[in-house]
Each structure stands twice: as C-alpha cells, then as structure tokens.
Amino acid sequence: MIANYLSLSVILFCFGLLGVISRRNVFTVFMSIELMLNAANLAFVALSRLHENMDGHVLALMVMAVAAAEAALALAVVILLHKHKGNLDTNVFSLLRG
C-alpha cells in the first residue's frame, strides 16, 4: 500500500523534472521545482508512516521552511530579472555561455 504512495511520489517528481528541463518560462520552472520538493515530502511522510516514526514529518517541515525561503529569494530574483531584461524567458539568461 505504501508502495502506491511512493510510486505517486516518483511520478510527481518526474513531472517536476520534466518541467524543469523542457520549459522556458521562469515561473513554470520555479513551480516545477516546488513540485519536486512536494514529491519528496510525500515520500518522507509515507516512509514515516511505514516505520511509525515521526522524523519524516519533521523533515517535511524543514523542507517546507526551505521551500518558503527559496520562494522568497527566487521571486525577488525573478522580479529583478524581469526589471532588467523585461522578459521571463530562461534562454535570455545565458551568462554561463563558454
């Protein structure tokens, strides 16, 4: 039964991954990352349930805190980038080009 939860977690995670690598809209990419974090949370909670041990819940809480911090920062960056480039396309940001 737990295996179903974990399988769902894997599927959601892979959707998140797909969103990160195939979309160019910064918001979608950002939310895809959030989706991956949520998939991880689901796995934590499911395994916590399997072992009847609440460490997984605590970890899920931590992940949410980190996600909140990340959201605050990432959105600040998005605003800044939009101000400068007037665009939401990740392909515009190619400073890493060799």
Partner: protein
C-alpha cells in the same frame, strides 16, 4: 676501541653558526645602514678561535689515550637509512684528522684576523666573513666526517664557498668566469668522487659505511674493483686539489681576495684531496698500481706547475702555480705510500704558503692592488716585517735546510727513492731546484733592485698590526713546524709520522743510511742550484722582465693548456648544445609537447559546443547522467 665524546659537533657548528648569524645580519642591513665592521670582525674571529681551542682539546684528548684506541666519535643523528645504507651524521677524530684540525683552525683563525685588516672598508664586509666562516665550517665537516658521505657534504661545501669567494668581486666579469670555471672543473672531479664512493659502497658497504668499518672490511675488495675505486676517488682529488688534468681552475681562482687565496686555495681546501687519499690509505695500500698512478700524476703536475711558475708575472699566480706544484709533491708522497710524509707536507705547506700569500697580500695592499711583480721592486726598506716574514716563507717553500719545507719535502723525496720510484725522485729533485728558482725570482724582483714604478713605491707603507701579527705567527710556524718530524738522520724520531701511524696503513721501508744521505744531499744541492740561478739572474738592481721567445714563450703562455681545453672540450660541447637546441629540441623534445597542447586545444573546442550557457540545458545533461546511472544500477542489481 672508540670513545664517544660530545664536543666534536661543536667544532664545525661554531663557524657555521657564525656564518648564519653574519649572513642574516648582512641580509637585514644590506638595504639600509650596514653594521659596523667591528661587530662583524669580532663575530667572525670568535668562532674560529673557539674551534682552535676545541681542536687542542681533541688533540690532548687523543694523546691521553693508548695508541691503538685513539678514536673519538660522536653520532649526532641518523641521516640516511635505506636498506643496507645506514649513514649517521657523525663526527670522528683520530690522529690524522686531529692534525688537520689543528692547522686548519690555527691558520683559519689567523687568516680571519688578517682579513679584518685586509678587507677593511669593503662594502660587503659582512658577506665576506659569512662566506669565510661557512668555508671553515664546511672544511671542518670534511675533516671530521665519520663516513665518506659526511665528508662529501664538507667536500661540496668547501667547493661552494670557493666558488662564492672567487667571484666575490662580482662586478668584474673575469672574476665571475673564474668562479664558474672553478665550480665546473670541480664538478668533474666530484663526479669521480661520487662514483668512487658508490663503487666502494657496492663493494663493501653492507658492513657499515663509516671509516672504521670500511677499514676493517678493506681486505674484501677485489684488486680490479679496488683499482677502480682508487682511481675514481683520485679523479675527485685531482679536481679539488688541482692536479693534471683538472688543475686549470686554481691559477684563475686567484681572482678572489688574497686572504681567500691564502686560506682556501693554498692552505686548506686544496689539500682536501691529499687528506682524502690518506684517509683511504687502507684501500690505496691494497692496490700499489693506483699509488703509482697517483705518484706520477702528482710529480708531473709538480713539474708542469713549476715550469709555469718560472714565467708568471702576477705575484699571486706565481704562488698559485707553486701551490699546484707543492700539491703535486703531496700526491707523489701519498702515491708512493708515504702517507704520513704527504700529510706532513700538507701541514708545513699550510704554514708557509699561507704566510707567502698573506705576505703577498700585504704587498698588494701596500701598492694599492698592484699584482704585477715587474712593477714592484725595492720594497725591502719600505716593508721590513713583510720582507723578513716573506723571506722565511720563501726559504721554507724552496726547501732551505732548517726551515719546515725542507723536512717535509725531503721526507717525500726520500720515501720515493726508498720505495723504488726512482723516476719520481729524479723529477722531484728537478722540481725542487725549479721551486727554489721561481720562488727567489719573485722574491728578488719584488723586494730587491730599484723601484720599477716610482709612484707606487712612494706610497707604499707597512701594513697595519692586524695584518702583520698573523704574518709573524705564521713565520714562526714556517720556521719551526718542520721540527715536529725530524728524520732519524738528523737525530729526530719522526714525531708526526708516529702520531699519524694509527690512522694510516703504511710501512716504513728499512734502507741504508747512505741512501738517506744521498737524498738529503741532492735536495740541498737542488735548492742551492735553484737559488744560485735566481740570484744570478734577478739579484741585480736593474733586472727587467726578459723577452720570451720560442719554448719560453710557450711556457709563458702556459703551454696553451687553457686554449687546448677550450677548443678541445668547451667549443665542441657548446656546438653540441647548439646543435641539440636547434635540431633535436624543437622536434624531438618540444614536438610531442606541442602536439599534446594542440590536442587539448582541439578537444576543448570540440567540447565547447556543449557549453551552451543555458542552465536548463545543463539540467538536461544532469538528467541524462542520472538516467545512464540508473540504467547501470538496475542492470547490476538485476531489478
């Protein structure tokens, strides 16, 4: 058998500490205001003086022991331990090294004192004394080292100091070239030394590589290997002690300050080769053939240098060639297995040659760095102390009977005759006559006659006390050092030879008194002949430099040996170097490197394509990697 003491390490350490201290002081102050010369002078002289006191302590310590156990040792730490090779940084004093120690420290101290006067007002005063102390420390390591490897440390150290001090006046190109020449020629010799040492280790090194173990195992060496070891070590000695064919560096080494010529290139360092052969007497005694080679090379060097000495006009070069010549005598001595005679000549030579050099330095100092004897003359009245001390030195060098040089040289010649090397003896007598000739040629021209350069003569003056006192002390040594080893024919009992006996492997042949009388008589006759010709030719007020033609001109030009070496060795070597750098290096050596560089460039360009600059694409690469990894893991886990 051996006695462990704790003060041996201090002997090399004190001058080395002085060198370190003065070197640091010099480095600190070389940008700004220099420390006063007095401070350097005191530091420089304290170390050598203390080592002389310690050398006396070593001597009396050894004297208090029974004759067959006169060994003092001190192991400081284990230096190298690899397989069979177990070398400790150890020091070792036996009668041989104690004798060397005594005169090295005594003469070293005197020359330090003298240098304080001679080098006054030199801008690199501190550097000079740092080098000089470093030299003394290295020389003492050489003398006291308990194994050939430790000796080699000192051997290289003195070579380094010699290089540094020859090119001390480094603003002149010629001095630097002379320093380089000394260093490079010595390298050739050192290669021989290292090879000889390695061969020695290969032969009997497994039983311990200090002198005492080596001596105990010396009989196990085969005759062929023994000969090879002896000759290779002798190659090292020819480099350091300026013998044929590597003697060319020593005359050029006179470019250094005169006290350096006295201390390093006459009294101490150049005798290291003789000391080394005597130190390895236990091997040389096993291989008489090697001894014959050493003796002949030595005596031929003596002859060659004496010929050159007769034609030189630079006072220091004359003395330099006489040093080479006397070193040849020493090698003749150790070559005919008369090790104590050779070492005794080292001992007396150190006194009178240091005296002569310091006297020459005094003359040069008085004449404001004039070194050409044909611009001197008549200095007898102006510089009485220098005159009389130089006279003693010249008599000792020429081998005049009551002076030290007579006894030591006569002992070598007599031993050559007694051991059946008649040829060596004959050449030796000839060289003795030539020695007397060129010594007094120089002496008469410099001190007698009328002044050849009025201007310089007017300004000449006796040197300060700090320079004349060492001269007087050395003159006393040059007078009386010979009495330490008076042969039985004069009623003596060969004190030094008996003292050295436990360290050396030599046999005193028993020969008739008449042979001994013959040897002494010919020596005196040779001296008489030499001085007579010199007197006749140069003891005239108006003696001028003769005009050399033919063979004499050839000798004046030193038989073109330097030119021969230059065209035979240096030029082909340089051509080879140029050829290699022009043809082989760009293709064979640099080619592959350049190809590799180009390959990396091409590779980088190829991989640059994947560096698109979009973070998203990098994420794709990461996911591809993860996928490949997961495929690999699923297959290996059989999921």
């Amino acid at each position: 058998m051996e006695h462990t003491v704790s003060y041996l390490v201090l002997i090399p350490l004190l001058p080395l500490l002085g060198a370190l201290l003065m070197g640091l002081m010099y480095l600190v102050s070389c940008k700004g205001k220099a420390f006063p010369e007095k401070i350097y002078g005191i530091i420089a002289c304290i170390g050598p003086a203390l080592t002389f006191i310690l050398a006396l302590k070593v001597y009396f310590g050894l004297k208090g022991l029974p004759e067959d156990s006169r060994y003092l040792v001190q192991d400081v730490f284990t230096w190298i331990k690899v397989g069979d090779l177990d070398i400790s940084m150890g020091f070792f004093a036996d009668p041989l090294s104690s004798l060397m120690l005594l005169f090295v420290t005594l003469i070293g101290t005197l020359i330090h004192v003298y240098s304080v006067g001679y080098m006054a007002k030199d801008e690199n005063f501190g550097k000079f004394f740092a080098y000089l102390n470093l030299f003394l420390g290295s020389m003492l390591i050489l003398v006291l080292g308990s194994s050939p490897v430790v000796m080699f440390v000192g051997w290289e150290g003195v070579g380094l100091c010699s290089y540094l001090l020859i090119s001390y006046y480094s603003t002149e190109t010629n001095n630097v070239i002379a320093g380089n020449k000394a260093f490079i020629v010595n390298r050739i010799g050192d290669l021989g030394f290292v090879l000889g040492m390695s061969l020695l280790f290969w032969a009997i090194g497994s039983g311990g590589f200090d002198y005492m173990s080596l001596r105990a195992n010396a009989e196990q060496i085969g005759p062929g290997v023994g000969l090879a070891i002896c000759l290779l070590l002798f190659v090292g000695a020819t480099g350091k002690s300026a013998q044929i064919p590597l003697y060319v560096w020593l005359p050029d080494a006179m470019a250094g300050p005169t006290p350096v010529s006295a201390l390093i290139h006459a009294a101490t360092m150049v005798t290291a080769g003789v000391y080394m052969v005597a130190r390895f007497s236990f091997i040389y005694a096993e291989v008489p053939a090697a001894g014959t080679v050493v003796a002949w090379i030595g005596i031929l060097t003596a002859l060659l240098a004496a010929i050159f000495g007769c034609f030189q006009r630079d006072i220091k070069k004359i003395l330099a060639y006489s040093t080479v010549s006397q070193l040849g005598y020493m090698f003749a001595g150790v070559g005919v297995a008369a090790y104590s005679a050779g070492i005794f000549h080292v001992f007396t030579h150190a006194f009178f040659k240091a005296l002569l050099f310091l006297g020459a330095g005094s003359v040069i100092y008085a004449l404001h760095h004039e070194q050409d004897i044909w611009r001197m003359g008549g200095l007898k009245n102006k510089m009485p102390i220098t005159y009389w001390t130089m006279l003693i030195g010249c008599l000792a060098l020429a081998g005049c009977p009551p002076f030290s040089g007579f006894f030591s040289k006569d002992e070598i010649l007599f031993m050559a005759l007694a051991s059946g090397h008649g040829g060596v003896w004959l050449v030796g007598v000839l060289v003795a006559a030539m020695t007397a000739f060129y010594t007094f040629r120089m002496f008469f021209v410099v001190f007698h006659g009328k002044p050849r350069d009025e201007h310089a003569y007017e300004h000449a003056h006796e040197s300060p006390k700090v320079m004349t006192v060492p001269l007087i002390v050395l003159a006393v040594g040059a007078c009386f050092a010979g009495y330490l080893n008076i042969p039985s024919i004069f009623g003596g009992h060969l004190g030094v030879s008996h003292w050295l006996a436990p360290s050396l492997t030599e046999h005193h042949p028993h020969v008739s008194v008449w042979l001994e009388v013959l040897a002494v008589a010919t020596s005196i006759a040779a001296f008489g002949c030499g001085i007579f010709f010199a007197w006749k030719k140069f003891y005239v007020a108006t003696a001028e430099e003769p005009f050399y033609t033919g063979l004499a001109n050839f000798a004046y030009n030193k038989f073109m040996v330097d030119e021969l070496y230059h065209y035979l060795l240096v030029v082909p070597y340089k051509l080879l170097g140029t050829a290699i750098s022009k043809s082989i290096e760009p293709f064979v050596t640099d080619g592959p490197v350049k190809v590799v560089v180009w390959l990396y460039g091409a590779l980088a360009n190829a991989f640059k394509v994947v560096q698109v600059g979009y973070v998203r694409v990098y994420a794709i690469y990461m996911v591809i990697g993860l996928s490949v990894l997961s495929i690999f893991i699923s297959r290996s886990l059989n999921l």
